[in-house]
């Protein structure tokens, strides 16, 4: 098991390097630079001076190694769109709202979705099942900004219970978190339902009943444990995917989070921030997949490396 994990960590390092090279090359392959905007044109001489001061006049491989050397020392450079702070400072300022939004959205949406999916699978073809399916389909098909708009209309405009936007007081968090929870809830409900139904039709469930086990024990110990296998591989990476925030929800509720920077760093050719964001997401996904593989191996004796353990 230890060897397996060490091997996986080595492969993460490789993934990280490959992603960084590709992203760096693609980022610089996009024409234009940070000072080519038309809003406030600068003269060519000034542009050259700025580029030189930021090292942008050097060959690409030099820039790459300089940047990656910095990354290894937790120095992600300075964001061009906000030069008064380092990239790390920007991230530590903008990430917490996204983390709260995404984290709370998943932590609320996932358990609700799992319960809904379980209820649907156990009461198959009943009104609960149909309601859960309708709910899950709506949650996945209605764009999140439409859901956001509906929530603002009902709870902010008509009922006037909650603020329509902002991030100051915690009660302003309720609407964006609710909007955010819809997608994980819908996804988890669908996955849980199909995973449970898949296990419920397995012959060993009939054997468990024939042994005289209580239905509760069959469901909660045996069926859930088996259904969890395909679920963990989806859930952990999805959890990470949501923790980086949502561009749409943050824009709709004017949350000062990370979402907008994913777009602006590309349009403004903010190379340092763009690299930092993508490397961060890459690292989080790598860790999430590693964790989900470990959890999967712990839950599933059939793939435990090294045979019996």
């Amino acid at each position: 098991m230890i060897r397996y994990i060490l091997g996986r960590i080595a492969s993460i390092a490789l993934t990280f390097t490959v992603v960084s090279v590709i992203v760096f090359l693609m980022m610089h392959a996009v024409p234009g630079g940070p000072f080519d905007g038309n809003d406030m044109p600068v003269s060519d001489a000034v542009k050259a001076k700025l580029n030189a001061s930021l090292g942008l006049d050097q060959p690409l491989y030099v820039q790459y190694f300089k940047y990656m050397w910095g990354v290894l020392h937790f120095d992600f450079g300075i964001p061009f769109q906000s030069p008064g702070e380092t990239t790390l400072q920007l991230l530590s300022r903008a990430w917490p709202p996204s983390l709260i939004l995404g984290g709370a959205g998943v932590l609320i949406g996932a358990p609700l979705g799992i319960l809904l999916g379980m209820a649907a699978a156990l009461r198959r073809n009943s009104w609960i099942d149909y309601l859960a399916s309708a709910f899950a389909t709506l949650g996945l098909t209605i764009p999140v900004f439409v859901i956001s708009m509906g929530l603002i209309m009902v709870f902010a405009v008509w009922l006037n219970w909650l603020p329509a936007s902002g991030w100051g007081k915690p009660h302003a968090w309720i609407l964006p978190i609710t909007a955010y929870a819809a997608i994980p809830m819908a996804t988890y409900a669908r996955y849980t339902r199909s995973a449970m139904l898949d296990v419920l039709t397995k012959p060993f469930v009939t054997v468990l009943r024939a042994k005289g086990l209580s239905e509760r024990r069959i469901i909660f110990q045996h069926v859930l444990r088996n259904a969890a296998l395909p679920m963990v591989t989806v859930f952990l990476p999805m959890f990470i995917g949501t923790a980086t925030g949502s561009i749409f929800v943050e824009a709709m509720f004017r949350v000062p989070g990370l979402g907008a920077y994913f777009v602006s760093s590309i349009t403004l050719r903010d190379y340092s921030l763009e690299m930092a964001l993508i490397l961060m997401v890459t690292m989080m996904f790598c860790i999430a997949y590693l964790l989900s593989d470990i959890v999967y191996a712990l839950l599933n004796p059939r793939i435990r490396v090294g045979g019996r353990s």
């Binding site: 005289g212 209580s214 239905e215 024990r217 444990r225």
Partner: protein, 320 residues
């Protein structure tokens, strides 16, 4: 009072194209300690009958009706969930066809036997584990401790079927349902497993229902045979009589089609036609379209199940 007493059991599955009638009025009784073989081709309703008795079919879609369905004095038609759980495993245990899919893949064999014991009796985990080891030794497993700690995927089919039998016997059931227990196994293992079931049945003094399509299995393990066809019982008789003097034309045809019953090289005898479509069964006797000696009334009316002697009965118009 018989241990298992079924009168006029019907099991049907409503579907879009119509109602599939899997079991159409089966009556069956098994005395304590008696071993009965239910034989029939695929779709004759033999497995469904067993599943229906323990209420293991999903209802709905399955619809079960009977004039009587008692297991050790408990009316299984009206039994509560708790009564069913108490009967299953304890009064009647079941051994299934495919041992490779019969165990939960994420728990050890030991865990699954121990949980069966502890579902029915108040014993400690370590006591239950000790009993499980003894049971595994009893089903001729050489290294019980190693098997207890194994996961299902680590064992062979024959090994798993032995463990399955040990698990079924763990609560000393009064009757064992064995639903084609050797069909999924290697031929070399089949005979060992059958001998084991037969020995254990005698040792534990329990009733046995051996469901199979293999007449050889029946000849080796049971006292009495129930022949099913098209969801109905065609004939029941002591095992020797079934082989020596089958009364019902269907049983006669079955015996004639067994390979190697007559000397010399010859073409295998077959029963013409195909088994009845369960969603649109023929009128009258289900076997009449394939029966060599069918008469007009065979298609018109279902023959009654009549006793020929104290031990034999059959449903055929041509029999007295």
């Amino acid at each position: 009072m018989p241990l298992l007493d079924i009168e006029n059991l019907t099991v049907s599955f409503p579907q879009h194209e119509g109602v599939v009638q899997a079991v159409r009025g089966v009556s069956l009784s098994v005395a304590a300690g008696e071993s009965v073989g239910i034989v029939g081709e695929s779709g004759s309703g033999k497995s469904v009958t067993c599943m229906a008795v323990l209420r293991l079919l999903r209802e709905p879609p399955a619809r079960i009706a009977a004039d009587k369905m008692e297991l050790a004095g408990v009316n299984m038609l009206t039994a509560s969930r708790a009564q069913l759980s108490a009967s299953r495993g304890r009064v009647a245990a079941m051994v299934f066809q495919d041992p490779m899919t019969a165990f939960d893949p994420v728990f050890t064999i030991g865990h699954q036997i121990v949980e069966t014991i502890r579902a029915h009796r108040k014993v400690s985990k370590s006591e239950a584990r000790g009993e499980a080891a003894n049971l595994l030794a009893r089903v001729e497993i050489k290294t019980p401790e190693a098997i207890l700690n194994s996961y299902p995927h680590q064992l062979s089919g024959g090994m798993l079927q032995r463990a399955m039998i040990a698990m079924a016997l763990s609560c000393r059931p009064q009757i064992l349902f064995a639903d084609e227990p050797t069909t999924a196994l290697d031929v070399t293992i089949q005979a060992q497993i059958l001998q084991l079931i037969k020995d254990l049945q005698a040792e534990f003094g329990m009733g046995l229902i051996m469901v199979t399509h293999d007449l050889g299995v029946v000849a080796e393990t049971v006292d009495r045979v129930v022949v099913m066809y098209g969801g109905r019982v065609m004939e029941t008789a002591p095992v020797q009589d079934i082989f020596d003097a089958p009364a019902h034309p269907y049983t006669q045809a079955l015996m004639a089609s067994m390979p190697g019953r007559s000397a010399g090289k010859q073409r295998l005898v077959e029963i013409p036609g195909a088994s009845p479509n369960p969603s649109n069964p023929p009128s009258g006797c289900p076997f009449h379209p394939r029966c060599a000696v069918a008469e007009a009334r065979c298609a018109a009316q279902v023959p009654a199940f009549k006793s020929q002697s104290a031990t034999r009965a059959a449903a055929c118009w041509r029999l007295p």
